[in-house]
Amino acid sequence: MLQRLRDFFAEREVLEVETPLLSASATTDPAIESLRTRWSGSGADAPSGQQLYLHSSPELPMKRLLAAGSGPIYQVCKVFRDGERGRRHHPEFSLLEWYRPGWSLSALIDEVADLVRVILDRSGLEHEVLSYRQLFRDRLELDPWRATPAVLKAVARAQGLEGCDHLELDRDGWLDLLMSQCLEPALGRGCMTFVRDYPPSQAALARLRDGDPSVAERVELYLEGMELANGFEELTDANEQRARFEADQRARRAAGQPVPPIDEAFLAALEAGMPASAGIALGLDRLLMCALGADQIDAVLAFPVERA
């Protein structure tokens, strides 16, 4: 699999890069917890050692490279997420992440589809592109931009999602539950399904596209009822990016979560100017699960964390 993907990018003249796994800052995304470690070498910021984070994605340093003029780049690396363990989740997993300066999200979607066909050796595997809004309208008859949490809760109940009467969620929380429990299992059956144009409240690091309503230039790839990749047409506005990081930090503080420092080096790179780019991260363990027909991530790991 790794050989095929390296050949794929070599042919297309995308440069393989490596960025640090350890970082003084970490993602502010309230839904992702970073693992922490301590470095006590000479140069650490405290005699007791400096707190460093294991990265949850190589996104920010790779964008610093883009801002420095790297051109198209890709990376294969392990990433780390605290608290995530399940049939499809493991606290460390392999990610393929790549960036295409000057590309639109649509062009990137076509390239992702090409790559998956090559890696799975399924040249006839078709792909479809749905909008997030259309998906919810067609399958659940609701408008994800307008539905209230109460309406979404009623839909969840009508969909047979048991035991959620006591749940107190905001709109995005209910949409996440409906997406992962009611919609995702039917996506990517017999073809690759790309879902794009997310609500602005779920933009993460995506650029917003004005319109009625405005949407986030974000895409997710599903195959065999499983989420494989998440990509953006990248936000390059440093002020907007800082505002989103600070909103994340406020949300974390309010929820009593740890509040890691913002990556100032990344924001400085955005200020200096990052080319408009499309980028995506693809879970390689899950792609391997698809290739092998495995339904547990443990089936593609040499030693799961419980035995690591």
């Binding site: 839904a31 363990r85 989740h89 999602l161 048991e162 035991g163 929380g173 996440d176 539950l177 992962s180």
Partner: protein
């Protein structure tokens, strides 16, 4: 009060939901690409045995249930409640009809039962997987029938009724699987 976070969830964990103790049967961590993670769990009500599904926001906490599983020796039934004894401390406990449930059909004095205690009180009783009981009444069998093919009901000394092969007679001891309520074999008297 002790509590568990969703990342401590696993099969067998005892938690409180709506004022009742439950045990987790199955726990699945689910998360969309970005955004809120959830734990979808199947839980069994320790009082009623009913299994229901619950969805939790990952990171939420749930109150721990003060539940203990222990082996107790069955002593006697006084017409109202069933008396048990802890064989190590000799402490005596009683189980009411709701707690004893189906187990009353199978247990005899001295039997060691797995009892679930909630706040120190028995709420469910599991009989031993296999018990040996005497048949108090069954129709006489047909001569010459040595194995099976058909069967007949037999009443046991505890009142339970099980289906037995035709050759088994009143007064014999038989071994019964209490999990399925089925006849296993004839047993030598102990």
């Amino acid at each position: 009060m002790a509590s568990y976070k969703t990342n401590e969830f696993k099969g067998g964990l005892k938690i409180m939901l709506d004022g009742d103790p439950y045990t987790i049967v199955e726990n699945e961590f689910v998360k969309p690409g970005k955004g809120q993670a959830f734990n979808r769990v199947k839980v069994r009500n320790l009082k009623t045995g009913r299994v229901v599904e619950r969805t939790f926001k990952s990171g939420d906490s749930v109150e721990a249930a003060d539940v203990l599983e222990t082996d107790l020796q069955y002593l006697y039934y006084d017409g109202e409640v069933w008396h048990f004894m802890d064989p190590s401390s000799f402490e005596q406990l009683t189980a009411d009809e709701a707690a004893i449930g189906e187990a009353s059909k199978w247990i005899k004095e001295q039997d060691l039962c797995s009892v679930t205690l909630y706040n120190g009180q028995p709420i469910s009783v599991d009989p031993p997987s296999f018990v040996v009981l005497e048949i108090t009444e069954t129709d006489p069998g047909l001569k010459g029938d040595t194995s099976g093919g058909g069967g007949k009901p037999a009443t046991l000394e505890t009142g339970a009724v099980v289906n037995v092969p035709l050759f088994v007679q009143t007064g014999e001891m038989i071994k019964v699987d209490t999990r399925t309520g089925s006849y296993v074999s004839r047993a030598k008297e102990e």
